[in-house]
Amino acid sequence: MFGYIIRRILAVIPVMTIVAIFVFLLLRLTPGDPAAIIAGDMATPAQLERIRTNLGLNDPLHEQFVTWIGLLLQGDFGTSLISNTPVSSMIGQRIWPTFNIAVLTILLSVLIAVPMGVLAAWRHRTWADYAVMAFSVLGFSIPVFVIGYIFIQVFSIELKWLPVQGYKAPSEGFWAFLSRAILPCLTLATIYVALIARMTRASMLEVLGEDYIRTARAKGVSEKIVLFRHALSNAAVPIMTIIGTGFALLIGGVVVTESVFNIPGIGRLTVDAVLARDYPVIQAMILLTSAIYVFINLVIDLSYTFFDPRIRY
């Protein structure tokens, strides 16, 4: 087991190195000039050139790369070319809203979707199954911003129960945080509930057809124990995968939801940085997002060994 974990962790190094090189080169091949954004409409070519020189954009590519990697290895993401702010502090400001919304969304989704999926599988080809499937299709089919606008119209504009937009940290008051987090989490959860419920249903259907389930039932084991202890733990591997990748996607930033609910998360930070060609921010964001994916994949892989001991060998 220990060797397996070490091997998986070591595999992260080449992946991240390739990502770093790829991101750096790709950005330099993309048309666009941060100096033009900074200087604005009236800049002369000479002024643009001086700004580029000041920003180090005229240095040879390999020098820029070495400088960036050198700083990165010291834990320094550099400074935003546009706002002159340390990238790490920008990420520090933006990561918490995204992270908190992601955690709540996944918790909410799992709490709703897993029982829904189990129910659909247990009551296969009954109205309950059809209802779950119908909800899943709807959850996938309606664009997330439409769901967001509907929630805002109903809960914020008509009923006036919740704020339209914004984000408050939990330290500013739990209700202040929760009241602003509920709608974006519910909006995102419609997709993830659909996704996780479908996966749970499919996985459970497969397991419920196994001999050991029939044996357990024949032995008189209660249906609750059969479903949640025997079947669900054996159906967990694909469900964990979908939950993990869903969480990684959320952490990567769900930019439409962040825009609709005005959440200052890392999705918006990334899009803004791309539009402004703010290289240090884009590089840091892609690296960070990749690292999150790699880490979550690692956790998922390790969780497989927890649910299915055969995998560790």
Partner: protein, 538 residues
């Protein structure tokens, strides 16, 4: 047994995960809002997020607006286009070669230091390196010195009657006054200390680039006497705090205003206005009657627009009404205007704009194009797809030009790609371009010294690089014009010259409505949204 162990482990793991998540949810920073509950805070959604904090290094409007919050200016032009004293009064010598400015009493920077003439000299010098008007003044500057703590003496080699108008202008780069230690840095490197002497203090610890920025009232600010008028007059702050927030989604901003979560939206999309107009708690209004001028600019370096007749043919094909109707839609918010200096300004003159303002002349354009010898060279027309106010013009223009016989190659790209590509002097087929469209605030084009399109200095001119000695002569004539009448006379010649040479195509004027909560009162008329004089009912 194994199963039982696993369940126990899972139960422990669940506890640990739940605890960790709770801890993480409680992490993050934030100040208690209780202490601030009784304060008056205006929450405003501005047209874009603030990212560049140095208003001298950039021409971005949001940075300029930020500049007016925290910095003050020596001189400011009022709503009658007249320069008025702001930080300083002045005298002009009889030979018009020496301007002596005297700082008024009580000026302080936000760190408590008094504003001195050395700060002003350093700030003006840095500004003049970035601003085209400033560069013109520096061309005739003999010396700019601080003669004592409160006096600045600016000596010229030749008269420059528009000096006060230039240093008092509100856009694109106003000469904001910074402490000498800040302003003495490079003009091509952004400042990193944001200390001004203006009516608001920048709250650095609450700043989130592109997300929000907070300004506190500067308690030691002493407003000038008199009513506010544009950027001139008394800047009396009546609230404790102004918070600018960025909302990328226009619908969200509107919902937030209607629900009372925000107090003000700087620019409302015209097609969303009916939503706001239905609300009793919201006022939709315009406080800038000049608005914006939308324009087309051609590349003079490469065929076919190096040929005057081809440029004229393209302009003749275009109709301002068609462009504006597609861009804005609601005629209440746009006007056909053939004046390159903007309708409603002292220099406005619409000579030569007849085809543009009367719906275009496709047949005339076809004829001119035939005479020009245009050989069907593809016209690379750049279309930005990510800026709402710039996506319609290229589409309308491309169709009109096709109707006239042009072979138009419309290329879609994001605005950032466009601004990089428009700086390229390569041939259009090698990554260059032939024509693009943009918008200016009217105060950025309302005289020939500041309008970038009227610079005829070839490679040193604005993108498109016309070499036009005549327009340079006319600009020199404008600089020498010492009365408003003479200036207007020269401006009319420049208008006629522009429409003949087609240095650029003015495509009309439009205004952007603002929206505010009925709780806000006292907002002044101004092209720059400002927050002095504004009060908020609690």
């Amino acid at each position: 047994m194994l199963h039982e162990g696993m369940l126990k482990f899972r139960s422990r793991a669940r506890g640990a995960i739940t605890g960790a998540m709770a801890a993480m949810l409680l992490a993050g920073t934030g100040l208690s809002t209780e202490a601030l509950a009784q304060e008056k805070t205006i929450t405003a959604v501005m047209h874009s997020g603030l990212r560049v904090l140095d208003p001298i290094i950039t021409t971005a409007h949001i940075s300029r607006n930020h500049g007016y919050m925290i910095y003050d200016v020596l001189v400011a032009v009022d709503e009658n286009f007249q320069p008025q004293p702001q930080m300083a009064d002045w005298t002009i010598s009889d030979d018009k070669l020496t301007y002596t400015f005297t700082l008024r009493d009580g000026l302080k920077f936000h760190d408590g230091a008094p504003v001195t003439s050395k700060d002003v000299v350093a700030s003006l010098n840095r500004w003049a390196k970035r601003d085209s008007g400033g560069q013109l003044i520096m061309d005739v500057t003999e010396s700019l010195e601080a003669s004592d703590d409160k006096t600045i003496v600016w000596k010229l080699t030749d008269p420059f009657p528009a000096l006060l108008d230039t240093i008092g202008k509100q856009s694109a780069i106003p000469p904001f006054i910074m402490p000498e230690r800040v302003a003495s840095g490079s003009a091509d490197e952004a400042v990193t200390e944001y200390i001004g002497s203006g009516p608001f203090v920048f709250v650095e610890e609450e700043y989130q680039p592109g997300v929000s920025v907070t300004y506190r009232k500067f308690e030691d600010y002493v407003p000038r006497e008199g009513e506010p008028s544009w950027m001139a007059g008394g800047k009396e702050v009546k609230v404790d705090e102004v918070k600018w927030v960025t909302m990328p989604d226009a619908q969200t901003a509107i919902n937030a205003l209607m629900s009372g979560e925000i107090d003000y939206i700087e620019q409302v999309q015209i097609d969303l206005l009916p939503l706001l107009e239905a609300s009793e708690d919201v006022v939709v209004e315009t406080r800038d009657e000049l608005g914006y001028q939308t324009i087309g600019r051609m590349n003079f370096k490469h065929p076919p627009f190096d040929n005057k007749k081809v440029r004229q043919a393209a302009m003749m094909a275009l109709s301002q009404e068609d462009v504006l109707a597609t861009l804005i839609g609601n005629p209440d918010y746009y006007k056909v205007c053939g004046a390159i200096f903007g309708c409603g300004t002292p220099l406005a003159d619409d000579a030569g704009s007849e085809t543009l303002t009367s719906g275009g002349d496709i047949e005339g354009a076809k004829k001119l194009l035939e005479e020009s010898g245009y050989d069907g060279t593809p016209i690379v027309l750049m279309q930005p797809t990510d800026v709402v106010s710039l996506t319609a013009q290229p589409v309308v223009a491309a169709q009109a030009m096709r109707n006239a016989g042009f072979n138009v190659d419309m290329q879609a790209m994001d605005w950032q790609t466009l601004v990089t590509r428009r700086a390229s002097q390569s041939k259009p087929e090698d990554g260059g371009w032939n024509i693009f469209f943009t918008n200016w605030m009217v105060p950025e084009v309302n005289n020939p010294l500041i309008s970038p399109m009227l610079n005829g200095r070839g490679d040193n001119a604005w993108f498109g690089w016309p070499e036009d000695e005549k327009v340079e002569e006319l600009r020199a004539e404008f600089i020498a014009a010492d009365t408003p009448e003479k200036q207007k006379e020269v401006a009319a010649k420049i208008q006629a010259h522009n429409m003949d040479e087609v240095l650029y195509i003015p495509l009309g004027q439009y205004i952007m409505p603002q929206a505010r909560s009925t709780k806000l009162t006292g907002l002044i008329e101004s092209p720059v949204p400002v927050f002095w004089s504004v009060d908020k009912e609690q």
